[in-house]
């Protein structure tokens, strides 16, 4: 990887961010670090989703994998005392097995589009219901907590929640690993094979691409990333509820954030995470500060951010399907390097007809 000066500055800025936060917001350091950590962990999960999503495999099932990641690890720790160093790999293996069990028939039978989305939706709901159904162990819909080890900071138990700066660097490392995976996939032959398959499966098969195997490979990577993301999220929050880590709303949130940020560019999911987290945070703070909003809508005022989420999701899909970052990059690309003359001509003709 060749590092450009802007990349080096960016990495340095991210590494020094906790210092900046301490100087700028000495009173609310924990709060701002919390926002950053949330953004980084979710960015990692979103990046994992878009590895599949960018090839037309729009899954509504990734809420299942984050849920499996979080719950398998927590249950192994709470009931068997198995350290997350083993628990997380086990959770990843479980998630990958589930992904392959559902993925293989899907890809083999060429279930795509609506059917793929609805099938993966059923998977998400199934996993959430199993979590709720096992309420004797998982606490049902009220959620559960990983058992705290010693003072809550432990390498053995991978617990780091009280130390926000440490948590920040862990989340940062996780996020960077996600980008690295994306970068590796982007440069692999698999990426070209999957691009071809998403355009035309028959043509891809006919030039010797094993479409099913390529799709399974990317699905396994994607599910594994979401499982790790879910587990780290559980370790950071130290509290998990099915509604926030498994289930349909998680899946839809993932999809929305990625679409908002842009799923075809490396940093798109990250931009999506920044955008959605900031949006809901700004709305939450301004609603809590506004007496008129509270007077008008009472408790319901807190739903305003979901409402704006939904409206933006619709607007993004209709007017900006490439997402924020994708659209910005496209503009910049147009400015700095105008397309060759013949292509422009064709554009003009197309727009006239």
């Amino acid at each position: 990887m060749k590092l450009s000066p802007s990349t080096i500055i960016g990495v340095a800025a991210l590494l020094l961010l906790p210092v900046a936060v301490r100087f700028l917001f000495p009173d609310a350091e924990k709060y701002y670090l919390h926002l950053l950590i949330q953004i980084l962990i979710w960015s990692f999960i979103y990046t994992g989703w878009s590895l599949m999503g960018r090839f037309g495999l729009t899954s509504l099932g990734h809420g299942a994998f984050t849920g499996i990641g979080a719950y398998v690890m927590v249950l192994l720790w709470n009931y068997a005392g198995i350290t997350p160093w083993i628990g997380i790999p086990v959770a990843v293996v479980v998630a990958v097995i589930v992904a392959l069990l559902v993925g293989y028939p899907c890809f083999h039978l060429r279930i795509v589009g609506h059917y793929f989305a609805l099938l993966t939706l059923a998977l998400t709901e199934f996993v959430r219901l199993v979590i709720v159904g096992l309420r004797d162990y998982t606490g049902g819909s009220l959620g559960t907590q990983p058992r705290r080890y010693a003072d809550g900071i432990s390498l053995y138990a991978i617990q780091f929640e009280p130390d926000r700066v440490l948590a920040y660097y862990i989340a940062l490392a996780l996020w960077a690993a996600g980008l690295y995976i994306w970068w590796r996939v982007d440069r692999s032959m698999d990426r070209y094979a999957l691009d071809a398959a998403s355009q035309d499966e028959d043509a891809a098969e006919s030039v010797g691409i094993n479409v099913t195997r390529e799709k399974l490979k990317i699905t396994a990577i994607s599910a594994a990333m979401c499982a790790v993301g879910g587990a780290i999220y559980a370790q950071y929050q130290m509290f998990i509820v099915p509604d926030t880590i498994a289930g349909l709303s998680v899946s839809l949130n993932i999809v929305f954030a990625v679409i908002a940020g842009g799923m075809w560019v490396m940093l798109g999911p990250t931009v999506g995470a920044v955008f959605t987290q900031m949006l809901s945070e700004v709305l939450r703070v301004s609603i809590q500060g506004s007496t008129t909003m509270q007077a008008w809508f009472g408790q319901g005022a807190l739903a305003l951010d979901t409402m704006i989420y939904g409206l933006l999701l619709i607007l993004f899909i209709i007017y900006m399907p490439k997402g924020i970052l994708g659209t910005i990059l496209e503009w910049r690309g147009k400015k700095s390097a105008p397309p060759p003359a013949p292509a422009r001509k064709a554009e003009v003709i197309a727009s006239r007809s």
């Binding site: 609805l118 739903a303 399907p321």
Partner: protein, 289 residues
């Protein structure tokens, strides 16, 4: 497992049958839209929820129940048309998944909108129809009425699609999207009418559901995923198949709910759905495509 083959088991099975009528009606509207416009309204159950609230308020505002129900049907039919016009039409030509996701956005909007306007409390319309006693079993009249109305609505829709010009046009579009505009059928009008009928069916389902269930903003999440499953399992455009699928799914829920906990009934239903898609991708009763 505390489940025996006694009279209560029979009661659970029969109540499952009554639930199947409602679920089949819910799936019917979605099925029609899916078959004709080739769009899945992920927010279908949320439209039903809005319908339930409007019927509730119309009734509490003094309208007789039947008038309130009519208001609900018309309102949701209108909502369906408006949604098609504003949200679905701009993305009709883009990737199928975009159409699914815009209605996912509508799901957020409707649910959050309901939370803001109506609050998070559970509401009940407060109509008690009593129940019918047969041996030791009891069946709520509201469920029996629901079942009867749902079946009648299905028969009526069937007649409409068979007999009227617009009904035939709707079926024709469902069979071949590309050729019908060339034969002089106004596709956009057919889509609008279909959206209105789909919305109207959601409104009708809402009118039946207020008699049975408490209303709250998240009620859609309880039914939405079930309806998608029934829709796909039954096979597109296949109403009989839709009803049988609804019956199977609701039996899973009713029996699972009476023998184990409710979630396990639902979980098994979802598992069954996934397995069935793999075994019969064209739907339980669809022909070979």
């Amino acid at each position: 497992m505390d489940c025996q083959l006694d009279i209560f088991f029979l009661e659970a099975i029969l109540n499952g049958l009554l639930l199947a009528g409602l679920l089949a009606l819910l799936a019917l509207g979605l099925n029609l839209i899916f078959g004709v416009i080739d769009v899945v309204w992920i927010c279908y159950a949320e439209l039903v929820m809005v319908g339930m609230y409007s019927i509730n308020y119309a009734y509490k505002g003094g309208a007789p129940f039947l008038a309130a129900a009519l208001i609900g049907v018309l309102l949701i039919a209108l909502a369906g048309m408006v949604m098609h016009y504003l949200v679905i039409r701009p993305v009709l030509d883009s990737a199928p998944i975009n159409q699914l996701l815009v209605t996912g956005g509508m799901l957020f909007v409707l649910q959050a909108g309901a939370t803001m306007v109506f609050g998070i409390e559970f509401r009940n319309i407060g109509i008690r129809l009593g129940s019918y006693q047969l041996f030791d079993m009891s069946f709520a009249y509201s469920r029996i009425v629901t079942f009867a109305v749902a079946i009648s609505a299905m028969v009526l829709l069937w007649q409409f699609l068979q007999r009227t010009y617009i009904g035939i046009a709707i079926r024709a579009i469902a069979q071949d999207r590309a050729i019908m505009p060339l034969m002089g059928v106004d596709q956009r009008r057919v889509y609008l009418v279909t959206s209105a009928i789909g919305g109207g069916l959601a409104g009708l389902a809402a009118a039946l559901m207020v008699l049975q269930f408490d209303i709250y903003p998240q009620i859609g999440l309880q039914f939405g995923p079930l309806i998608f499953m029934i829709c796909v399992l039954g096979g597109l455009g296949n109403m009989i198949g839709g009803f049988i699928a609804a019956f199977i799914i609701s039996e899973f829920i009713a029996i699972g709910g009476s023998c184990f906990a409710t979630e396990w009934g639902y979980a098994v239903a979802f598992l069954f759905f996934m397995v069935m898609i793999f075994i019969r991708p064209q739907g339980l009763f669809g022909g070979k495509s």
